[in-house]
């Protein structure tokens, strides 16, 4: 008898229902409290390449190196149907950062690094940051409610955050809707405030909202869509940066409000014969400062035998400049807003990464490497003046995770 596919809705319905079965790695996990304690340690070493001598005016060519240690814990919580996640982070930063940009004798922009003058020497930074974040998840049937909070402290910076998330599964776990809101309050206490023509204390805060949809399309593919909106208010300038305005150096001056909008889509496709999955992520972003950006990330997750997995990935990013971005000016500024921060300049970037995972009993190990390059040459659009402070970096990280009770 010939095989027909007329009754395929029956098969899809059974397939969908079987996918939700937990022992088969089902989607039901989204609304499932942790029953085991799991702990992980993550270390990463982020290293920015030196500024090439052709782009350096003064100061050391060394840029930032950041070492991060993070411990994550996840455990069932006091009440039934709840769990708690904790993340503790300790970061040390050393090196120097771009201070301002000036023209060289030919009018070509070159970067002056912090630490270029003796009064600046304290900005040859050796800093540390400590943070703690927690998330309490409460589950009831297909619903999840999460409360998040966080605290982060640096010598000259303090941040407190709180948030709320709700999620609901429909359709036997095939569809998940999520919504959330968050609030962050930041206090800045610039060191050497007077030398930088700054006050000793500034504040800003950010309110964010997001909504998301996850849809399991079939047993091979999944689509996630989310929309984020946030608004920052307060002092949003960089207290340690200046702009070269011909006759004087003026402190970085940005608007006191920034509205940001982002649209994210994630698609995952499992290729059964190869035991591999393709991940395609795309992000569109725009803000009230005039920046719009596109990010495309492709990753190939290949499962191998003996509990090994290897994931090569590539990421492309492109952004337009902020309206008030100004590398430097020979005459006064066109308005009272200006910044020469390379992160507000027009550029493109490309990065490649490789991740290796190994599972062994209740243990999981991972090793990751990423190499990132940015510049005008990677931009989709024509860039008049490339910011000389655009950075190239590499990150090497490793993590180890253990689930108790396996």
């Amino acid at each position: 008898m010939a095989v027909t596919e007329k009754n395929n809705t029956t098969l899809s319905a059974l397939m969908a229902a079987s996918l939700a079965l937990p022992a088969l790695g089902g989607a039901a996990q989204a609304a499932e409290p942790a029953t085991d304690v799991s702990a992980s340690y993550h270390f990463s070493h982020y290293h920015e390449n030196s500024v090439p001598s052709s782009k350096l005016a003064r100061g050391g060519s060394e840029r930032y190196t950041v070492k991060t240690h993070q411990v994550d814990l996840k455990a069932p919580f006091l009440f039934t149907d709840s769990d708690i996640e904790l993340a503790l982070q300790h970061e040390t930063m050393s090196g120097a950062s771009p201070w301002y940009i000036e023209p060289d004798l030919n009018g070509k922009p070159v970067v002056v690094m912090s630490g270029a003058t003796s009064s600046q020497s304290k900005r040859l930074i050796n800093e540390e940051r400590n943070s703690i974040q927690s998330k309490l998840n409460l589950y009831r049937g297909p619903h999840r409610l999460s409360l998040t909070s966080g605290y982060s402290k640096e010598k000259d910076y303090r941040s407190i955050q709180a948030g709320l998330e709700v999620a609901k599964e429909f359709n036997q776990g095939m569809t998940t809707l999520e919504a959330g809101a968050g609030f962050t309050n930041n206090t800045l206490n610039p060191t050497d405030a007077k030398k930088y023509q700054r006050k000793s204390r500034y504040h800003n805060h950010e309110t964010s909202l997001y909504g998301g949809l996850t849809q399991i399309l079939n047993r091979h593919s999944l689509l996630q869509l989310s929309v984020n909106y946030s608004q920052e208010n307060g002092f949003l300038s960089d207290p340690y940066k200046f702009v070269y305005l011909g006759t004087k150096l003026a402190p970085d001056s940005r608007p006191e409000r920034r509205r940001k909008f982002a649209l994210l889509s994630r698609y995952r496709y499992y290729i059964e014969p190869l035991d591999a999955a393709v991940h395609v992520d795309y992000r569109f972003f725009r803000d009230s400062w005039g920046i719009h950006s596109n990010t495309l990330k492709l990753a190939w997750h290949q499962t191998l035998s003996h509990g090994w997995k290897i994931t090569p990935s590539i990421r492309y990013y492109d952004q337009s400049q902020a309206d008030f971005y100004l590398p430097f000016s020979y005459i006064g500024p066109p308005s009272n807003l200006y910044s020469s921060d390379y992160r507000l300049s027009p550029f493109g970037s490309i990065s490649g990464g490789l991740r290796i995972d190994k599972t062994f009993g209740g243990w999981q190990f991972a090793l990751m490497y990423e190499y990132y390059r940015s510049g005008a040459r990677y931009s989709l659009n024509h860039v008049d003046v490339e910011d000389p402070a655009l950075v190239d970096f590499q990150v090497l990280s490793a993590s180890i995770n253990y689930s108790f009770g396996q």
Partner: protein, 301 residues
């Protein structure tokens, strides 16, 4: 790589796990975990133990307040609800109470009043199921996960083995089969479908490299009354055994789906059953009463 075989008895049937492990310690670890998972599910869903989840559910029959079930049971109930809906009410995990009328050692037909009384306690539609809250509103109602749990256990073991990097192996739980992956040289497993009258000889050989295979049939348990053969597969709508094929085997991406499809194929009877299976689109094989084969499998017989 060498093939390790582990044989044991669980869920009322013979189980055989064939594994090609990377080394003997991995093989041993997988065997222990596989058997533990099967025993966990057996203990949780058996009807024969007071403290099982199934017994707890069945004890709640008649309680208006109902009970709350855990996520795994909820997913199984959701699955059963889907199977009920997709089979137009033939696949029904509430039909177990009908066993009280059909004891397969009996020599006379049951009284139709008994069947009719039992039928008032049968029917998924009589349950109140609002995940994770379940109510069996009538005293005497029962759930029986027997029709899904063995197949689910097969899939669970396949998932455990694959999660730990094992890519070659097969689990057979009394004819419910899950494939972890083909032999290391890429060749498929060859699984025999037995005939009732010649159990030592395979009637057909089915080649499997992935997914699951399940067979539903009434050749193992039946009774003959006044020259008529009554199998153990009962129609939950009439309360009577269905007159169907000798057996139906279905291959599916998962054993649980193969099991559900083969059961629904049987429940639909000889003609409609084949039509339903053909429309489902999964490879299947029926053994007819006269010993002939029908279906969409390419087989060596």
């Amino acid at each position: 790589m060498e093939c390790t075989t582990h044989k044991f008895h669980a869920m009322g049937t013979h189980c055989q796990l064939f594994l090609y492990a990377n080394d003997s310690s991995q093989g041993e670890a997988l065997i222990i975990q596989a058997e533990a998972e099967i025993r966990r599910l057996e203990a949780k869903y058996t009807r024969y133990q007071e403290n099982s989840e199934t017994s707890r559910i069945n004890r709640s029959a008649g309680q208006v307040a109902g009970i709350r079930v855990d996520a795994e049971t909820a997913a199984l109930l959701d699955y059963a609800a889907t199977a009920y809906l997709q089979s137009d009410g033939l696949f029904d995990i509430t039909s177990g109470v009908l066993r009280n009328a059909w004891r397969f050692e009996q020599t006379t037909l049951p009284d139709s009043d008994v069947i009719n009384h039992l039928l008032t306690r049968v029917g998924w539609h009589r349950l109140q199921w609002e995940s994770p809250h379940l109510t069996l509103p009538l005293v005497g109602m029962e759930l029986d996960f027997g029709g899904v749990v063995k197949e689910y256990a097969v899939d669970a073991v396949v998932a455990i083995c694959r999660d730990q990097g094992c890519r070659h192996g097969l689990l057979d739980m009394g004819g419910d089969i899950g494939v972890i992956g083909p032999h290391p040289d890429g060749s498929p497993w060859r699984v025999g479908i037995r005939t009732p009258w010649d159990p030592d000889r395979a009637k057909a050989i089915i080649e499997l490299s992935a997914g699951g295979l399940a067979t539903s049939g009434d050749y193992e348990r039946y009774t003959e009354i006044d020259g008529v053969r009554y199998g153990h597969i009962l129609n939950p709508k009439t309360g009577w055994p269905v007159q169907s094929m000798v057996s139906v085997s279905v291959q599916a991406p998962r054993c649980i789906i193969a099991g559900t499809a083969s059961t629904i194929g049987m429940l639909n009877g000889i003609k409609q059953g084949k039509q339903w299976l053909a429309e489902l689109g999964l490879p299947y094989l029926c053994i007819n009463r006269d010993g002939s084969l029908a279906g969409s499998f390419s087989t060596d017989s």
